[in-house]
Amino acid sequence: MDSIKLTLPTKPEYVSLARLTIASVANNMGFSIGDVEDLKVAVSEACTNALNHSKNPDTTYDLTYIVENQKLVFTVTDRGIGFEPEEVAMPDLNGKQLGGFGIFIIKSLMDRVEIISERGSGTSITMVKNLSTTHEV
């Protein structure tokens, strides 16, 4: 069980580093091309939320990738304002709504998602992708 930690500046220009590193780790683990793309999207959505919503007072936020036997477990953690994950509504998928897709996309693409958020102290979203999953684009 190998663990990789990445601390990134709370700035849009570094979100690509989250994608680059997860793609490399997932490739080496043997994930399919389609799964690697899904992992890039999931980690980016979580980083984008940390930048857009957390009001993170810190100049950095954290990512952890844990390489397990048959799965990749990764977490994005900010030290921002937090929110109530249960109160986030499922987006309308009729092309009218401009936002609100991030968490929905993450949940659609990953095998397991856990959000731990506390008002005033921040949010931590943990995503799991199983290696064996073979639903391919």
């Binding site: 994608r19 793309e37 999207v41 980016s44 092309g95 009218k96 897709f101 684009v137």
Partner: protein, 106 residues
Amino acid sequence: MNSNNIIETGKTSMVSIKGEIDIYSIEKFRASIEKEIMTQATQIILDCSELSYMDSTGMGVLIELRNKSKEMGQRIIMMNPRPNIKKLLSLTGVDKIIEIVDNPAN
């Protein structure tokens, strides 16, 4: 549908979208499409053959731009998005309001 013909008609603009669209590059993307909307072309084709990455930030702006262009009586068409991006367009329902075409020439 052939890109040369299209450009000749004068009513269609073609924009090639390359690289990655995310929270960092989104404003550049928005600006380049808004410029096309201003030209009052009746159709705006986004050539996505070389678009390697797009996430929900891009979906949101696509919907926004499509609403704007609709007001102007214009259509936005996405050409040749890669499978990973098609998957997201479908997941979010964006493919119901923006036409997606696969150009066999590519």
